[in-house]
């Protein structure tokens, strides 16, 4: 038990520290690298909870795809981040004031926070206990049955996002010559070669 606790505090501390560094690092590339560190530690926390599927998805999707994409964007776009930060100190007092007020309000709400006594039984997970079945399998059982509706809806939302990206950015440029292999293959000798009779002494 003690090992789990140590592991939890280790991973949690690193996650928080890395998260802080994401916004504190001066170099945006470093920020992205710290983000990857935060993702890995969050994945480790998921493993500690017994949610190994979520942990792997987090690593594959966020580290493998999203963070790498971020890295590309940061490296390819020439954004002057120091210029973006210029107004930071100027807006800090107002921002801090709003943040502190919001924090106090949230604390007041959380102070009075109770959970309805029935909540625990209602919220009882729709999947079987973790001892009966591992959670990848359990998720698989409900994603396509009980939760098929939101699952498919999420698919449609992603489809709209894709259509939107194409509609708003794709431009068909005229006068661009593309290679059409079928046309090249279908070209015959008659189209490609023309025999010229050259008269002696005339030149072409």
């Amino acid at each position: 038990m003690i090992a789990t606790a140590i592991a939890f505090y280790l991973f949690a501390a690193i996650t928080v520290a890395a998260g802080f560094m994401v916004i504190a690092a001066r170099n945006p590339v470093h920020s992205v690298l710290f983000l990857i560190l935060a993702f890995f530690n969050a994945a480790a926390l998921f493993v500690l909870m017994g949610a190994e599927f979520l942990a792997l998805i987090l690593v594959i999707v966020y580290v493998g795809a999203v963070a790498v994409l971020f890295l590309f964007v940061v490296m390819m776009l020439d954004i002057d981040f120091s210029e973006l930060r210029e107004g930071f100190l100027q807006y800090l007092p107002v921002g801090a004031l709003v943040g502190i007020i919001l924090l106090i309000e949230l604390l007041l709400v959380l102070g009075a926070w109770v959970i309805a006594p029935e909540a625990a039984s209602i919220a009882a997970s729709p999947t079987p206990a973790i001892t009966d079945i591992d959670n990848t399998r359990a998720l698989g059982h409900i994603v396509y049955t009980q939760y098929v509706y939101p699952f498919q809806a999420a698919g449609l939302i992603l489809l709209v996002a894709m259509i939107g990206a194409i509609v708003l950015t794709l431009r068909h440029k005229p006068n661009v010559k593309r290679q059409v292999i079928a046309d090249q293959v279908a070209r015959t000798r008659e189209q490609a070669v023309e025999m010229k009779k050259v008269e002696p002494g005339q030149g072409l």
């Binding site: 009980q146 098929v148 509706y149 449609l156 939302i157 939107g164």
Partner: protein, 478 residues
Amino acid sequence: MTNVPDFLPALPEILMAAGAMALLMWGVFRQCDARETGIGAIGLFVLVGALLLIEPNEAVQTFGGMFVVDSFTKFMKLLILIAAAAAIIMSFGFIRHEKMNRFEFPVLIVLATLGMFMMVSANGLIALYMGLELQSLALYVIAAFHRENARSTEAGLKYFVLGALASGMLLYGASLVYGFTGSVQFTAISGVLTAEGPNIGVIFGIVFILAGLAFKISAVPFHMWTPDVYEGAPTPVTAFFGGAPKVAAMALILRVLFGAFPALEDQWQQIIVFVSIASMVLGAFAAIAQTNIKRLMAYSSISHMGFALVGLAAGTPEGVRGVLIYLVIYVVMNVGVFCCILAMRRKEGYVESISDLSGLSTNQPMLAFLFAMLMFSLAGVPPLAGFFGKFYVFMAAIEAGLYPLAVIGVLSSVIGAFYYLRIVKIMYFDEAAEPFVQPLPGELAAVLGVCSVFTLLFFVYPAPLILGAQTAVGALLP
């Protein structure tokens, strides 16, 4: 082992999703223009509408109670379908002239409509959010559809950023409600809250959820995006924004409040009363100074949403019936007015300033008459349809004892009449400006005709609509 849920109640949605994807493929492979997919989309809407009409009326829940079908959803979905189909028909001429003739436009409207269907049928917080995002994402894209135009792009971006913020607030509220009740399903939430009574955390949750939803119906104080987006978006898109999404979001508000939070009516009633008064008053005053007809319609829609909320504030079946009748009449008037706005085209392009309308009565007496009639109806002058919409919600408010609300509503309606009548004055009494291109495209004239006939002759035979709304309310408030 869980069983596969019953898909049959969601058949219209499934058909619509499959149809949208088929239209998309059709467009890509045939390289066709928006007219072709648009006609396909209308055909799809007709099919879905027929399916809705033959569906039985009793309430059915499926997907673990996440999805509900009853006569309320049927009523709302038919209204949304009509509004969306009208928007597509109206867009044909515009997209041809404005060089945005790409086949994705009707497909995105179909997908947005599908999102609205999901919102109307949502019976749980997850389903609510999914439908809302599907609808909003499609709307953000079509707001920026005229991508060569800086104002359209700005409208899309503004709508997107503010919409994302609103979604965030909604999600935060939803998580608070889930945290207290332990369920995302409206029926279960309602059960827990009836047993436990109000609690500060849940009230916070309701406030955030209502803030997110008020953004979608552009009610004050979450209305800031409306004038800019209405002005910047292409006109048929604005016509669409004014109708179907408002209906869907209002249906969602009704379902959330009466499905999940009936036990906290005292708490949410205060919020609705405030939002309603603020919308009516701000809409009435801010519209006076406008010079652009689309901006004016934006403020008009803000105040109309305020009027519709009056019925909801009453919290009675009569009030909700009033909201439904109001929505139907509002959608029809809105479509009609935007037909008139789309008729404002000169040789060099579309114009949208109010002064361009001056002297319309000498150039196009018929158009001027219909425009004036719709303006009178928006102002709520009897015996036009707009009057009856207001009549039912104010009657419900008075019966529920909300006298201040009703009085403020009537007063702001009088102030609102000023700017509607100003347009009539400009059309009839000012010196004639350069005439618009004539004649109107056939499809636009047809839609305008239908809307005008409805507005003008509603008082002759209002029974079917009132009966339909009555049945719909019966499903929502048993």
